[in-house]
Amino acid sequence: MQTVLNLLEVEPIRLLISFGAVLFLVLNLAAVLTMAERKVSGYIQLRYGPNRVGPRGLLQPAADVFKLFTKENVSPGRSDLWVFLGAPIAMFIPAALVWLVVPFAPEAVVADLNVAILFFVAITSIGALGVVMAGYGSRSAFSLLGALRGAAQMISYEVPLILSLLGVVMLTGSLSLVDVVQAQGDTIWTWYFLPQLPMFITFYIAGLAEVKRVPFDLPEGESEIVGGYMIEYSGMTWALIQAAEFASMAVISAVTVTLFVGGWQPPLPFLDLGPFNWVWFGLKTALIMFTFQWIRWSVPRLRMDQLMDLGWKILVPVTLIWLFVTAGAMLVF
């Protein structure tokens, strides 16, 4: 027993095991999120949502996964098979990898990199590759349009996303996410979302666009290009794309919480739960994800040119101005 625990001290093994645990968490999270999505949409839309499988419909995700596993994986006849099948993997891996640097609690982080923010930015931009692969490999006009939209959107929104991070980095003076959380303190008014409010909103909007949620779900656009880049996928490949979407949605929420809403820190000092502070992290992440779903079921979709206008003409200038304001404030105080 002791030797096994000692093995955990060996760096590559510890990394593998803890990343395995995180991967397990992410995959389950995707299932839980599909359920949450359907329940939330149900309550918003005057209906119950799934309530047949298991108690209160809670086993619905299991039934879904079972169905998807048993479904035949159809690929279009003239598709570029390797690209087609590689795309879901290329989408899922970056979404899962970002979890490496997300701190759940002071000690509970897979890899406390000193360039964690850089890592996050680098890995999320790889996600666009999977979208392009899916659209190109499917060989359909709808997929191609979806992929082109996805690539344009993800690369454009990368800019405000990165710029809105810089304020936090300037305030903290570190690129490590653990440092960022620790610098925010354990009171709600010292968290960065207040002094960095425009950056927080920009990051939130750019994050929505990055994970392709309504109102920025143009690459999918189910009423115009019928699913876009994922139109030809079925069975497990489709499920993998869905899992990647939900994982990246969860990771964007988690990073938002880490950067702006104080990570695992309790909102007030007396609410400190000690070793159970990860509960705060979970609660905040769930709240952000709920707002994602709330928005999804409430508003229509933007058009491509309007999306680009919003990104380049509003979000980028706002972040730049606030960068100067932050720099000026740091110089004065």
Partner: protein
């Protein structure tokens, strides 16, 4: 051989060679860029049924749009020639399945013109009453569909809540939720059941209260909705009249034309209502016109319910209808526009020829004209402006 050709035709999206026209040829010619052809439909969630659009795209800009119809063609005109006069009514029900009652109404009016019969006043009033309910039942979901196609999923469920409730009223009155077969030649099938006027009154007052918060405040004030619909599908009055548009697409450009007002039929002569028009002539204007028309329908239903005449609801025309030779042409304002029925009689039991002038068929010509130049996602709000129904354009 035939199969081979069929397959060759459907291989890929191409049916005709691309014209190669680009939206902005001056910049793009030097790069040697080409347009792509895209087949939207017939199996497409936003095509209001089974419509196929052959699109030619330059990036996201539509260069050419060619609607192909006929995927739901059930040859109702031919079937109508093979049935006795009263037996055609269920066929007309299937034309516009969002607003069935108006379809029956038009046919019955046309046959009554042939027969030259008087309708009992109570039947006339009930026809107008149910017709206005039918209009609400069609207009509110059409707004929901418009939002659905813009990417908001929720409004359609609120819209269908209203439709379901009106369907329950229809079920109590006619016995069916969708294919009513209620309006008969010479009147209506049955009188309103006991207590129905109170139920209708209650529902209408409730709808009046819900309309503003559910369908006006939440939708009309939404920034994204406005940015997606304002100025989209814009057309001038000349264009609208030239294309033969009727109904909401015509009225949203500002041309005041409503068959109920200008070619009055049935009980509408006794009713007081306004023709809603809007100047903008775009998708947002059509949404406003639809909401205004729902309000007018509520107003009309209240008027009818306040003075509903007493008496018979179905005149006795005998078992066998044999109109004299001639033409019976009647037109009514359905929820989608001017719906006209032309019945030609040769003196026998069956109509010699029945022609349905369905508003959707005519209004959809607009797609060819105004879609080129718009972006691909703008096709959906333009479809919402026309609001066609598959059964109605294909007959």
């Amino acid at each position: 051989m035939l199969g081979e050709q069929r397959r060759a035709e459907h291989e890929g999206a191409l049916t005709e060679p691309a014209s190669g026209r680009l939206a902005s040829p001056d910049i793009r010619d030097e790069f040697g860029l080409e347009t792509i052809d895209m087949n939207m439909g017939p199996q497409h969630p936003a095509m209001h049924g089974l419509l196929r659009l052959i699109l030619e795209l330059d990036g996201e800009t539509v260069v050419r749009c060619d609607p192909v119809m006929g995927y739901l063609h059930r040859s109702k005109e031919k079937i109508s020639e093979n049935r006795m006069y009263p037996a055609v009514i269920p066929i007309t029900d299937r034309i516009d399945y969002m607003n069935n009652i108006a379809m029956e109404y038009g046919y019955c009016l046309a046959v009554e013109k042939l027969l030259d019969v008087e309708i009992p006043p109570r039947a006339d009033a009930i026809r107008a009453l149910m017709n206005e309910f039918g209009r609400i039942m069609s207009h509110i979901p059409s707004v929901g569909f418009l939002l659905l196609e813009l990417g908001a999923f929720t409004p359609i469920l609120y819209a269908f809540r209203e439709r379901e409730r009106i369907q329950s009223i229809f079920e109590a009155v006619t016995g069916a939720r969708m294919m009513f077969h209620y309006i008969r030649i010479g009147g209506v099938k049955a009188d309103l059941p006991e207590g129905m006027t109170e139920t209708m009154w209650e529902y209408i007052e409730g709808l009046e209260k819900r309309l503003q918060p559910d369908f006006v405040d939440l939708i009309g004030g939404n920034e994204i909705f406005i940015s997606r619909t304002r100025g989209i599908g814009k057309m001038s009055q000349e264009k609208a009249v030239e294309m033969g548009l009727t109904g909401v697409p015509l009225r949203c450009t500002g041309v005041e034309f409503d068959v109920r007002k200008h070619y009055p039929y049935g009980w509408y002569k006794n009713l007081d209502f306004d023709v809603i028009t809007d100047e903008a002539g775009d998708v947002e204007a059509s949404y406003r016109v639809r909401m205004g028309e729902v309000r007018q329908s509520i107003r009309m239903i209240k008027q009818i319910l306040e003075n509903l005449p007493e008496g018979e609801v179905l005149g006795d025309l005998g078992r066998r209808l044999r109109p004299n030779e001639g033409d019976g042409i009647a037109r009514i304002e359905s929820a989608r526009g001017e719906y006209a029925v032309h019945v030609v009689s040769d003196g026998s039991d069956t109509p010699y020829r029945v022609h349905y002038r369905t508003p959707c068929t005519v209004n959809m010509q607009l797609l060819q004209e105004i879609v080129p130049g718009h972006y691909l996602p703008d096709i959906m709000p333009i479809m919402g402006l026309i609001d066609p129904v598959s059964g109605s354009w294909d007959k």
